[in-house]
């Protein structure tokens, strides 16, 4: 093996990776935030709706879950603007895609959480005279959140990693930065080692933070 590791070129272009990581985080945070709204609204709607609405929501979830993310990214970025008269930047397009994507997964997480709230708690809410809306806000959602927190952490983490797919439409996030350095320096091993370490480290920090939140909530159970 005549290959010697040389990280000098990587450090010279490290701003590409660092900037990429920040953009990855930004894409993840915005998409997950929108995804949470989509997921919550649809999950609450689902558990209280009739069969038609349920099948529409289920169809959305099934569609998203059965199509690879990369294909959805292509569809929204290249496909949609050729059919409809809209224009958007690659990052915006990706955020839209990942939001819809995370929304579908979060609907499932929230729906199962809502359905897992013990019936007795809802009865207790009714019995003291809370309206349906008040029962949702003050009884059902808080308990649902406790039930779903572990699943939520996992979903958040995998959505963060999914931001790497944005590289295929040239969004300069972390993976794209790594590719750029690779193409320009040919230090493929070094750049992907460093990039892997950056994903790993960020993932651990996120997971640690989420576990702290979980523990706080579990203590309050």
């Amino acid at each position: 093996m005549g290959y010697t590791l040389n990280f000098n070129l990587i450090w010279r272009h490290f701003d590409k990776l660092w900037g990429g990581l920040l953009l990855s985080l930004e894409l993840a945070v915005i998409s997950i935030a929108i995804g949470i709204v989509i997921g919550l609204v649809l999950a609450v709607w689902y558990v209280s709706a009739g069969r038609v609405v349920r099948s529409i929501i289920a169809a959305y979830v099934e569609f998203i879950r059965n199509v690879p993310l990369i294909l959805l990214v292509y569809l929204v970025f290249y496909g949609l603007p050729t059919v409809v008269d809209i224009a958007y930047s690659a990052p915006t397009s990706f955020v839209a895609t990942l939001s819809l994507y995370s929304g579908a997964y979060l609907v499932e997480v929230f729906r199962s959480g809502l359905e897992a709230v013990p019936r007795g708690q809802l009865d207790a809410g009714k019995a003291i005279g809370l309206t349906p809306w008040q029962r949702l806000i003050h009884v059902r959602l808080p308990t649902m959140l406790r039930i779903t927190l572990p699943a939520l952490s996992n979903t958040f983490l995998s959505l963060f990693k999914d931001t790497s797919v944005a590289s295929v439409i040239s969004v300069p996030e972390l993976t794209y930065g790594a590719q750029w350095i690779n193409f320009n320096t040919f230090r493929i091993v070094e750049v992907y080692l460093v990039t892997t370490a950056m994903y790993l480290l960020t993932g651990y920090v996120l997971l640690f933070a989420l576990r702290l939140v979980e523990r706080r909530f579990r203590a309050a159970r």
Partner: protein, 262 residues
């Protein structure tokens, strides 16, 4: 004046209900007057809990009428069978308190928080007012020192006492108690029943389902015996719980009950 106090506070008339093809309530009628403690006993599956849940419309019923203070429960009026709006139902339920077999405290709220939720959101009390009322009732059930404990930090008996405080703090016209000691370890039953007894002494109107016969005998104004979804016998405790009861079903229920509990 005497008219109002003599009229039944709770008036259940010919209430029937079926789950699919299973008739759980068959033309049940009963009355509870202001200040009365009425106990429902009977074998499991006789419809006791369902009846109780119909009184605050946690369950709908198919026919008949239930009135509290003259006001039809659940439906706009007995004739039309038109369900009340959710807002109406909520307002109506706020007038009846309910204590559950499995406590059903809100796990994310402290003991005081459980009591305050209804006071704040339904009664529109301020935080400070609600807290004061919560503390008062926690004191009444002997848990003043547990105001800031979460349900998970309380024993079953303590949780149930919070459940009672949560219900009575709303100042309901009638309190519904659904087998409130059935999920408790035997040594914790006494502390919960003591609270119920003190409420009865205060004149709280109560309708309760229980398997605690000794308590039913001591605390009830009247006992209703239900079997197969219908009222099989009604009367003062001494009469209903007498071993020589004339009602065949009641006699065999009590015999089986005594055999398994003593």
């Amino acid at each position: 004046m005497s008219d109002a106090s003599n009229a039944a506070l709770l008036d259940v008339r010919d209430v029937s209900k079926a789950f699919g093809t299973v008739e759980v309530l068959r033309a049940v009628s009963l009355e509870v007057k202001r200040g009365e403690v009425v106990t429902i006993i009977g074998p499991s599956g006789s419809g006791k809990t369902t009846l109780l849940r119909c009184v605050n419309f946690l369950e709908s019923y198919d026919s008949g009428s239930i009135r509290i203070d003259g006001k039809e429960v659940g439906y706009r009026d007995a004739g039309t069978r038109q369900r009340r709006s959710e807002r109406d139902l909520a307002a109506m339920r706020a007038e009846t308190g309910m204590v559950f077999q499995s406590f059903n405290l809100f796990p994310h709220l402290t003991a005081a928080g459980n009591i305050m939720l209804g006071l704040r959101k339904v009664r529109g009390k301020s935080e400070a007012e609600a807290r004061k009322i919560a503390e008062h009732w926690l004191g009444r059930v002997g848990l003043a020192h547990k105001a800031d404990s979460l349900p998970a930090e309380l024993s079953g008996g303590q949780q149930q006492r919070v459940g009672i405080a949560r219900a009575v703090a709303m100042e309901p016209k009638i309190l519904l108690l659904d087998e409130i000691t059935s999920a408790l370890d035997p040594e914790l039953v006494g502390e919960v029943l003591a609270v119920v007894r003190s409420l009865a002494e205060d004149g709280m109107t109560m309708l309760m389902v229980t398997h605690e016969m000794a308590f039913a005998r001591d605390a009830s104004s009247r006992i209703v015996f239900m079997a197969d979804g219908g009222v099989s016998a009604v009367g003062p405790p001494a009469e209903i719980l007498a071993t020589e009861a004339s009602n065949e079903r009641l006699r065999s229920f009590l015999a089986r009950f005594r055999a398994s509990h003593f």
